[in-house]
């Protein structure tokens, strides 16, 4: 099989009017089909459950999907069907599975605008971000398909005369994927396809807020050739999620979401139930409280727009988003003045408007949480008015808050940014070091020595120099952090698939009666 090198899926060129027109037409076509129906999918069966609605955060009266929420009993059933189907799926070669996953990439590519429009409606993602979400989903499919082919060759081992040594990787069993809503297509696609391509059966529990996106992914993979009984969909809230985590036949739990939920999964998954003959593995990507250090020699013409994008794009609802700026005191006043003025220019509005900087947040709970933190911070140095209808949260900039302010210490997951002065880059690194999270970090500096020092010392999983600290690309910036930010897999990187396999070492004595085999 010839292997073409991996290339990222090109972004939609929204700067061209004709591309924007196509995007808008796709959204209109989707709107005409709403609400979609999202059932529980177990094997080939569509099941009913406890119905709930998935709504448009920008216009909550618009129902995006009528959803059947799965029960604990349905979760159990899905896991058992998956358990029965997994061995046959694992028996196929990596190449066969990789071909199916690549076919899914092609299918998703052909439905690209429709998928982006769905992410836009269901999660309030502005066009450029929604499109990047689809692009990343396609990237994951292509990248993991290529990685699986490479994994199939095993790894080279030392070979002695009369001995054949091999190291092979096999799927672990049933993987439960518990996905977030903020990258409603990319993240579940990445976790699901990584598990599938390595020979696991998968039960996907999409976020309660993005079931229709989850449904689109599962159907795309089924259409591409993943057997129905190997991939199941359990829309819903806590109930199916908890049931999956506790299930004795689940081998791997792949989770992306909040720190609290991640910690609870980790402790729950450590328990070994009576029917269980294995240890569960948890692959967790959790929160962040990400800092951007701005040195005295930074180019503020780059830093200001970069910080703005890192903190406020998609209303700050990315685990990679910047929430603290640590600025060298020599340029702090200038940076603060320009940032304040720049925050004032932010356009808060619906995701379908191409000029929107800050869309609504995902739901009323998020709105309340953000408002609570903003109040704790006092009067923001800059803020922006927001529309009445829709789950909007006002972007807020705080300056010189005390170090123990919850705005400075907690992950808010919203459009809230705090700026703190530091004596120098070293002081900024110390602040970064104090954090319990270690996901992304940023640095603006034009000194090669400073860049090298921060590269060496910043504890974060992803460091971005002289650019925004969000927007990791598959194959270019493998993504994931340490500390309380997660168990440290690097999604979109060369090692990610190893999370979903067990390694088997085989050694054969090939000598018979002194004859070397």
């Amino acid at each position: 099989m010839s292997i073409t090198p991996f290339m990222n899926e090109p972004a939609l060129e929204l700067r061209r009017a004709e591309v924007r027109a196509r995007a808008t037409a796709a959204l209109e076509a989707l709107d005409a089909r709403l609400p979609l129906d999202v059932p529980v999918l177990i094997g080939a069966d569509e099941r009913a459950g406890e119905a709930f609605d998935s709504v448009d955060p920008a216009q909550p009266s618009r129902v995006v999907a009528r959803v059947q929420g799965a029960s604990a009993a349905q979760a159990d059933e899905a896991v058992r069907v998956a358990t029965a189907a997994q061995p046959a799926w694992a028996e196929r070669t990596h190449h066969e599975r990789a071909e199916i996953v690549r076919r899914a990439a092609a299918l998703l590519r052909s439905r690209r605008l429709e998928a982006a429009a769905l992410a836009l409606r269901e999660c309030g993602k502005p066009w450029a971000e929604a499109d990047a979400d689809v692009g990343e989903a396609i990237d994951f499919l292509e990248y993991y398909a290529l990685s699986a082919a490479a994994l199939d060759d095993g790894r080279p081992l030392l070979q002695m005369p009369g001995e054949r040594n091999a190291l092979r990787y096999v799927g672990r069993g049933v993987a439960a994927v518990i996905a977030p809503w903020n990258f409603p297509l990319a993240i579940p696609t990445g976790m699901v396809s990584a598990a599938l391509v390595t020979g696991n059966a998968v039960v996907l529990k999409p976020a309660e807020q993005s079931p229709a996106c989850g449904d689109l992914i599962v159907r795309t993979l089924h259409d591409a050739g993943v057997p129905r009984d190997v991939l199941h969909l359990l829309p819903g809230g806590d109930e199916p999620g908890r049931a999956l985590v506790a299930h004795p036949l689940v081998h791997t739990i792949a989770f992306t979401g909040s720190c609290a939920a991640g910690l609870s999964i980790l402790s729950e998954a450590a328990k070994v139930g009576p029917e269980q003959g294995h240890l569960k593995k948890v692959v967790a990507e959790m929160g962040g409280k990400n800092c951007i250090i701005v040195d005295a020699d930074a180019d503020l013409d780059d830093a200001v727009p970069g910080i703005l994008k890192s903190a406020f794009a998609f209303a700050g609802q990315k685990c990679s988003a910047a929430s603290r700026v640590l600025v060298h005191e020599a340029i702090a006043d200038e940076l603060v003045a320009r940032l304040k003025g720049a925050v004032d220019t932010l356009v808060v509005g619906p995701p379908e408007a191409f000029g929107t900087d800050v869309p609504p947040v995902i739901d009323p709970e998020a709105q309340e949480r953000i408002a609570r933190y903003t109040q704790l911070g006092g009067t923001p140095a800059a803020t922006v008015d927001v529309p009445e209808e829709g789950f909007y949260a006002a972007p807020a900039l705080f300056v010189d808050l005390p170090k123990d302010s919850p705005v400075v210490t907690d992950e808010i997951f919203g459009p809230v940014l705090s700026v703190e002065r530091v004596r120098d880059v070293d002081h900024g690194l110390q602040e970064m070091e104090r954090s319990r999270f270690a996901l992304t970090g940023g640095l603006y500096s034009r000194s090669p020595a400073t860049i090298a020092a921060v590269e060496r010392r910043a504890p974060v999983g992803n460091l971005y120099v002289n650019q925004p600290c969000t927007g990791a690309m598959v194959g270019r910036q493998p993504f994931g952090g340490g500390r309380l930010s997660g168990t440290g897999p690097k999604a979109g990187g060369p090692d990610y698939l190893l999370q979903f396999v067990e390694a088997r070492s085989v050694s054969e004595d090939t000598v018979r009666h002194g004859v070397l085999g």
Binding site: L300, R338, G341, S447
Partner: protein, 448 residues
């Protein structure tokens, strides 16, 4: 489109004649300063690692707090130029205690000197002598205000205010200049003495590649204000073109405002067409259609440039997986430039359009001059201060109307402009670098 892509074969002798005449009129370039500069530019072209280090230093220089900081950055950047012996020697000098201060001093002076070559003055008042000197030597100017990237409304207001002040200052000064008939009138009528180039990206923080209307709404009032000042002072206002991300908003905004009834009588105004854009032929047709249909008392000037964001556009497109908006390859680009020149020169016949050929490429200039002569068209040439000074002198000596693009601003604001110009000047595709490295006249005038 009326014009074919190839020039008429009978134009070749005329291009050759004009080209040789201009080449002969170029200053000899044998002054010690010119020779030293040429040697430096040559060295930078042959040593890409050093070139990158020097440009990065030029970029960061204004942000350095003191001499020590200058020396530290210079040393670190030169040390990165691993393959460059000269870079390594410089790095040692910048870090060694005994030579540090001197090295930093020389480097800082060097940057300042380069900046002054390109920049006519720090502000409107200090730019007057330079602009007047040009006028007296037989060349007009267009003044461009350098500045930081506009990220706030206050910055946009301040830029607009500086532009208005510059228009008034220059207008007051220009009233006292002697008459220059060639520069003050062409076939289409009188030409304003004062000419200001403005950047829409500096007039609003709202230019957004995916939403041209947002930028248009953000900049409209400030640009309208400047058009009024230009009209009331009798100056020309020229809207610069920038990166591809903004071309739709800039074009649409300019044409919309100039169509407003209050600007029917003036001011004299214009826009830029970037010849390196794949879509530039269509873009030119759109501009010409608009200008022909427009009911206005003054002609619309189209400045034809090659485009200054070539590297940026290529990198952006590659990063996103897009097809490049700019023409790849110097010859194809030059051919397109010539085709656009002919179409633009043809369009001047109605008196509704003025053509400004902005290029340092002797062949492109000679081609446009020969074509205009053959058509009896009255056009203008434009060059950049600091890069096209010799070309300007040769064009003046040849009796051509020529205008010099003169940036003004402080050294901090000037750096990104300077780096862009230096990049252009030392790129292997650059006409100026070919000229500087002593290519013979036949090669320089070769049809692309």
């Amino acid at each position: 489109m009326a014009t074919t892509l190839e020039p008429a074969p009978d134009l070749a002798p005329a291009i050759d004649r004009v080209g040789r005449r201009l080449a002969a009129a170029l200053p000899s370039g044998r002054t010690p300063k010119a020779l030293a500069e040429r040697a430096l530019m040559g060295r930078l072209m042959d040593d890409p690692a050093l070139r990158a280090a020097i440009f990065r230093f030029v970029d960061v220089r204004p942000a350095c707090r003191d001499e020590r900081d200058v020396a530290r950055h210079l040393g670190e950047l030169l040390a990165q130029a691993e393959g460059s012996a000269l870079g390594q020697r410089g790095a040692r000098m910048a870090t060694r205690r005994t030579t540090r201060a001197a090295t930093a001093g020389v480097a800082a002076l060097g940057v300042r000197g380069m900046a002054h070559r390109f920049i006519v003055g720090e502000d409107a008042a200090s730019s007057v002598p330079g602009v007047e000197k040009l006028w007296r030597s037989g060349a007009a100017a267009t003044v461009d205000l350098l500045g930081e990237t506009t990220v706030t409304e206050a910055e946009a207001d301040s830029y607009a205010a500086r532009c208005a002040e510059t228009l008034r200052t220059l207008q007051a000064a220009a009233a006292r200049w002697p008459s220059q008939p060639l520069l003050e009138r062409d076939a289409a009528g009188p030409i304003p003495r004062v000419n200001l180039s403005v950047k829409v990206s500096a007039l609003t923080p709202h230019l957004h590649p995916n939403d041209p209307e947002r930028g248009i709404a953000g900049a409209a009032d400030r640009l309208r204000g400047l058009l009024r000042v230009a009209r009331d002072t009798g100056a020309h206002l020229h809207v610069d073109m920038e990166s591809f991300d903004t071309r739709e908003a800039i074009t649409e905004l300019t044409l919309r405002l100039l169509s407003e009834p209050e600007f029917r009588a003036g001011p004299s105004a214009g826009i830029v067409l970037q010849g390196y854009l794949v879509e530039s032929p269509d873009h030119l047709e759109r501009l010409l259609d608009w200008a022909q249909a427009r009911d206005a008392e003054q002609p619309f000037t189209i400045r034809l440039v090659k485009g200054a964001y070539w590297d940026h556009e290529m990198i952006e497109a590659a990063r996103h997986g897009w097809s490049s908006p700019v023409i790849d390859g110097r010859r194809a680009c030059d051919r397109n430039y010539e085709a656009l020149s002919r179409r633009l020169i043809d369009a001047t016949a109605t008196g509704k359009v003025r053509a400004a050929i902005a290029s340092h490429n002797l062949r492109s200039i000679a081609h446009a001059a020969a074509y205009a002569d053959a058509r009896g068209a009255d056009i203008e040439f434009q060059v950049l201060r600091g890069l096209g000074d010799d070309t300007l002198k040769a064009l003046v000596a040849d009796g051509r109307r020529v205008r010099c693009y003169c940036p003004l601003g402080d050294i901090v604001a000037g750096m990104s402009y300077l780096v862009r110009r230096l990049l252009e000047n030392t790129s292997n595709d650059s006409f100026l670098s070919a000229q500087a490295s002593g290519a013979d006249i036949d090669t320089l005038l070769e049809a692309p």
